[in-house]
């Protein structure tokens, strides 16, 4: 069957401006997008640049956007994309520096970020004589994370990266999980500190897009949330986030539910005059509209004592 591909083009050696080329090729009914691209490059236009390696949906090299959603070209059947119209649009990933055509900058996209989290184990002990064993359950959990093959699909799905390319992103933060939760790791707090820096775990919106995108079921969002829970337990080092979480926790612990007014002022810090002043315009608008929650004028829920008991027990057990 005849398939028309409209492919994103950009040539840094010419003017570097994005363009689109249209190619029509004859392909068998069960052809993949990658087979289409190979045919175009072999028979129609040898200047077309794209990456591919394993050809079986394993390595992630050929990830691109097929009709605007990220796919591995090698396992994406053309027939799945021609039902609504005869043309298939091919683009590089969103918000990634493009080098040429469908080839984008993997260093900027992922590798530099993974380097930031120190992706190696710093062992607690001197080299031991025998094996340095860890419990089965832990090994099983870490193995799941280690099955990541860095396809970048989670970063592609991330909802923060489109507004801030410097966010470390789910792939790198999931890599951090692998070391944070390894009992052989020397200094967990030090590692937590790295991922608690701006652009790290606290910049994640936990939208679960990464989990939906991950072809391996590694659930990057849940890994990031687990790191956050650990940071909560041992003490959050990001000051503003720490104030926010402490205020939230105290509010629920003391009254059973959230005092939003209190949360707003305590997050800024009660002695942070500048920060509190910043709240004023929003607060003033809310007051005019009759929707500003007044801090500390907050009644206890019935059952607050039971809630407090459970809360404190939870805190206690995790120590």
């Amino acid at each position: 069957m005849e398939i028309t591909f409209k492919v994103y083009r950009k040539d840094p050696e010419k003017d570097g401006k994005p363009d689109r080329s249209t190619y029509t090729v004859d392909l068998p009914g069960d052809a993949t997008v990658l087979e289409g691209l190979l045919k175009i490059r072999d028979e129609v236009d040898s200047t077309l640049a794209f990456r591919a390696s394993c050809g079986r949906g394993y390595c992630g090299e050929c990830m691109m956007r097929v009709n605007y959603s990220a796919r591995f070209a090698c396992i994406a059947k053309v027939s799945a994309f021609t039902q609504k119209g005869p043309e298939i649009l091919l683009d590089p990933l969103r918000n990634v520096p493009v080098i040429k055509d469908l080839v984008f900058d993997w260093d900027a996209f992922m590798w530099n970020k993974i380097k930031t989290i120190k992706p190696w184990l710093e062992s607690t002990d001197e080299a031991s004589e025998g094996e340095n064993l860890i419990p089965d359950a832990v090994a099983k959990d870490l193995r799941k994370v280690m099955s990541c093959f860095y396809c970048g699909m989670c970063d592609e799905g991330c909802t923060v990266l489109p507004v801030d390319f410097n966010f470390l992103g789910p792939a790198a933060l999931t890599k951090a999980y692998r070391f944070v939760f390894d009992p052989r790791n020397k200094d967990t707090r030090e590692r937590l500190k790295i991922v608690e820096e701006p652009k790290g775990i606290w910049d994640c919106v936990h939208c679960f897009e990464a989990d939906e995108h991950c072809p391996r079921g590694i659930e990057p969002t849940k890994r990031i949330l687990a790191i956050r829970d650990l940071a909560f337990k041992v003490g959050i080092t990001n000051e503003k986030v720490a104030r926010h979480h402490l205020s939230f926790a105290n509010s629920v612990k003391e009254s059973g539910w959230l005092d939003e007014g209190r949360l707003a002022v305590e997050t800024e810090g009660l002695s942070n005059i500048k920060g509190l002043m910043k709240l004023m315009p929003t607060a003033a608008k809310a007051i005019v509209r009759g929707k500003a929650p007044i801090p500390y004028l907050h009644s206890k829920r019935p059952g607050a004592e039971q809630i407090r008991r459970i809360f404190e027990k939870g805190e206690e057990e995790k120590k």
């Binding site: 701006p198 606290w202 986030v241 809310a286 929707k291």
Partner: protein, 293 residues
């Protein structure tokens, strides 16, 4: 049709217009609500799981005691509670430990027999869309509405199931807009994050996300947006002026809570739905709705 009603903190705090509009709309539809008054905040994804799971187990056990499913009007409450429900239901050892260590003292037991359902799901799956249609007094003809789902009413999948209608749940808002007579203005950001969760850690990114979604819907020609989550509302409505300042561009897109939107079609006037409490003026919506009268 009766539910253990879990209104959540924000529907009476930062978005006090949500609680009364949800209660009025439910009453008009004949959905009976028994409010859960002695239960805790879900933790909203801020409290760590080792604290929020036992707290939510208590809420779920209380609903089981009432022999009722829970109805929420907040996607965040929905998501956090449903995730806890999933973990507890599918891990017998975990369930037993939580029961023994946390709930037994109060004489409660979590069994895993209740469901957590957002009002949006209740309307489609329990109430019935034909029945809702028959009660529409004022089809919102000519009103151009963008759906905004946000995250927790669509993801993670284990918290959305069990349902044979998983994929349909992802489109309920789109469907509802048409059912109430309005025109659905689709846009790419409808299932993305509103930006609210990172307001503390990175305000600029948070506002950029709010500005991106409201701006896109506005460009596509929406008169307003409707959302099932009050936290999305705080971000998209409450922070819209700040998002405009960051973007250097006026957006001016009214954001309606789900019950307010349903309420307008059921014939409630804007005052009853407390539209005056919004930060972004809802005048354009009100004018269009008045013209329908």
């Amino acid at each position: 049709m009766k539910y253990a009603f879990y209104p959540g903190c924000v529907s009476r705090g930062g978005c006090p217009e949500l609680y009364p509009s949800a209660v009025k709309v439910s009453a008009k539809l004949g959905i009976e609500l028994e409010e859960m008054k002695d239960v805790a905040c879900t933790g909203a994804g801020v409290l760590p799981q080792y604290i929020s799971d036992p707290i939510n187990a208590r809420t779920l056990a209380k609903a089981e005691q009432m022999s009722l499913p829970i109805m929420t009007i907040c996607s965040t409450c929905q998501g956090v509670m449903a995730q806890a429900n999933y973990r507890l239901r599918n891990d017998p050892d975990y369930r037993e430990r939580i029961n023994k260590e946390y709930l037994a003292e109060e004489g409660l037991t979590y069994k895993g027999t209740t469901e957590v359902k957002h009002l949006l799901w209740v309307l489609f799956e329990d109430y019935g869309i034909e029945r809702l249609k028959s009660l529409v007094q004022k089809p919102l003809k000519g009103l151009r509405v963008s759906p905004f789902y946000g995250c927790f009413i669509r993801r993670p999948p284990e918290a959305i199931t069990p349902t044979k209608e998983l994929s349909r749940r992802k489109n309920y808002l789109d469907e509802l807009i048409g059912i109430l007579g309005a025109e659905c203005v689709d846009f790419s950001g409808k299932g993305k994050c509103c930006g609210f969760p990172i307001l503390t850690a990175n305000e600029e990114n948070s506002l950029a996300m709010a500005g991106k979604h409201t701006g896109e819907a506005k460009e596509k020609g929406a008169d307003c947006m409707v959302t099932p989550c009050p936290l999305c509302h705080l971000s998209l409505d409450g922070n819209q002026p700040k998002a405009e300042a960051l973007k250097g561009q006026k957006i001016d897109l009214p954001i309606l809570h789900l019950p307010q939107f349903v309420g307008l079609a059921l014939g409630f006037d804007p005052d009853e739905m407390k539209l005056s409490r919004h930060i972004v003026s809802t005048k354009t919506v009100e004018t269009k709705v008045e013209m329908l009268a």
